[in-house]
Subunit: 411 residues, 2 copies
Amino acid sequence: MRQSALFSATTRDVSSEETAVNAILLTKGGYVRKVSAGVYAYLPLGLRVIRKISDIVRRELDALPNTSEIQMTNLQPRELWQETGRWDDAGMREIMYRVGDEQAYGLGATHEEPVTDLFRQFFHSYRELPIATYQIATKFRGELRAKSGLMRGREFLMKDLYSFHLTPEDLDAYYEQVAAAYLRIYQAMGLKAIRTQASGGVFTTIPSDEFQVVTPVGEDTIYVNEAGDHALNEEIATQEEAAARGYTRTEKATEVGNIFHLETKYTAAMKAEIATADGARVTPVMGCYGLGISRVMGVLVELMGSLEQGAIRWPKSVAPFAVHLIDLTKDKVGEAVYQDLRAAGVDVLYDDRDLTAGAKFGDADLVGASVRVVVSPRSLEAGGAEVVPDWANHPERKEVITLGELATRLA
Amino acid sequence: MRQSALFSATTRDVSSEETAVNAILLTKGGYVRKVSAGVYAYLPLGLRVIRKISDIVRRELDALPNTSEIQMTNLQPRELWQETGRWDDAGMREIMYRVGDEQAYGLGATHEEPVTDLFRQFFHSYRELPIATYQIATKFRGELRAKSGLMRGREFLMKDLYSFHLTPEDLDAYYEQVAAAYLRIYQAMGLKAIRTQASGGVFTTIPSDEFQVVTPVGEDTIYVNEAGDHALNEEIATQEEAAARGYTRTEKATEVGNIFHLETKYTAAMKAEIATADGARVTPVMGCYGLGISRVMGVLVELMGSLEQGAIRWPKSVAPFAVHLIDLTKDKVGEAVYQDLRAAGVDVLYDDRDLTAGAKFGDADLVGASVRVVVSPRSLEAGGAEVVPDWANHPERKEVITLGELATRLA
């Protein structure tokens, strides 16, 4: 697309309220704009990154057995939440917005009740289980102290997956498949996530698993093993206990996903029963699996962005565009190249604006496309366009490619 | 995908509260499930239709000049709405939910204020105009009488586009491009929409344009011209006046889109000024363009669904799946065919369930895939699979294709 058509602007002046690196860089680059504390609008570049992350998540989850995507609602009837007692729960009262006449609805802070309600309406026989479903949807949470930019907000995008099983063993098998899918998801986005044992919460003795990424700005402390592929959250062990179990390295880390055994907490409270082969009725066990899509975008910027350089070095898989075509000629020689690239199906952003080279390169560093193509009087003299094939990792490697060859080479 | 993996179920018993054909058929088919009056969860089939409609809309809007997609927020600060006076407007008070401590937010019922706020932050020079942006996003409206299934809800999916221009002439030119894009969008979905002049509302003397589809269940009355491509809404003319202007046919119709001149109502109230070439400052004029995504899904079912036949004859472009593979063999001969079709990139739903042929065909009529493929003992005896290439329009046309050829023929 044309850069002149983006409904956004890069900016040097970011409100001093923004202290998180991700919020500052994403605002500077015109990816997002803060609407209110913890509430961000996604501008064209930001929406493209969100969509690429979502597509990676979908690809892995759609490959899980008996798993399909749905879209639940944000208006959730009070009655559903009263069935599990969470409507009057102090913790939920704090984070769940209530709307409508006489507070008829809670605004989707999480979806265990609605998904269990759908489950009990659709599934009645052991033949139909296991079954699982996920959504990628907006969540609303009345966080008192919304902070950390996209990493903890009042309105944010999350993937939540729920599974239903006849036996704990069957749940365990699915749970492990999800854990493996999560690791592939993070790997595809260039994140090294460590599976980390953590507390299961108040209603189960089974620990949960977090996926943690090591970073100095992390809000969690974890103890990592020698191989660096498993860890314990400090909430479930002291440093000494962890070390005794082989978790010897202490790190700051940030959570990018969390998977839980819910046992029968919701299915029992909401009377979701399944008939077994021998005619008995059992209450299925349930797992839930969260992954914050907008949070992951924030984490990626924390790790791959640089305030000093004013740059975001996105991994190729989630960069807003694959190719950034920067036109520095007076007579827009790049226009024909842009048309060629589009015709060849290349995911290209064309900087067609009347700005100085300096301004264009400054913006390009914030766009962080994998391949940078510059068409300038100098590059034309050298025989074509100057191409940086892997800008994020090797900004110094350049080659000149003739304009005629560009589309074939980059397609 | 496998039909056994869908997180939904077809049902014969639909609550008698549902009176609209679209709600009854979509519930029967397992596309949606009512959560509360005017609030529907989208199940896998429904979400697929929504996504196909959205993609058609995106394809046309992305081709408009200076137009890009964003995602605004549903939490909208009260202060923005106070700037235009709509926070205390009686009509808006009725439909806009308020949330948060001391009603800090309105819940996105429409987005003129937030989009104008973004515009005034990003754009300051005549060089940057015209500029336009759209989103496909959830809207919340406290409709007192939510009815008509997906056609009028409290939580629904809408595409809203906004454009900003230096002059009314420039807005008019863009407006006509949008109108043409809308007609292409409806045509791509098999809808014959008629451009219909309607009232512009309270703050402009310029009429708006609705896109109306003729149907006996329509809530509007329109006067259509001889050619059948233009109409007047009865709200702006009597039958006699209309007839005198050549609009001689009276029809019931339902609105599937609406485009407006907003003039400077929002840009003036919110002080969005643009510097002109000669250093003056002007208030840009604005257009807005709505298209209800979930509403269109409802309209399609009203027109193409049949309660008597228990069938939805989707147009090919929006059917939840292109191909429905129905396996009636005991030993699941269809499994290998399914793998072949998937490998060939075919958008296929595989009915792998242990149900009677009658139950499977009944469900298939509600899925309404364009191509139906049946693998049964009888079809195998005849040499392969029985294929209905255009089930919606010619359910009687069938041919036998060998299993080995299927993937190549259907890819």
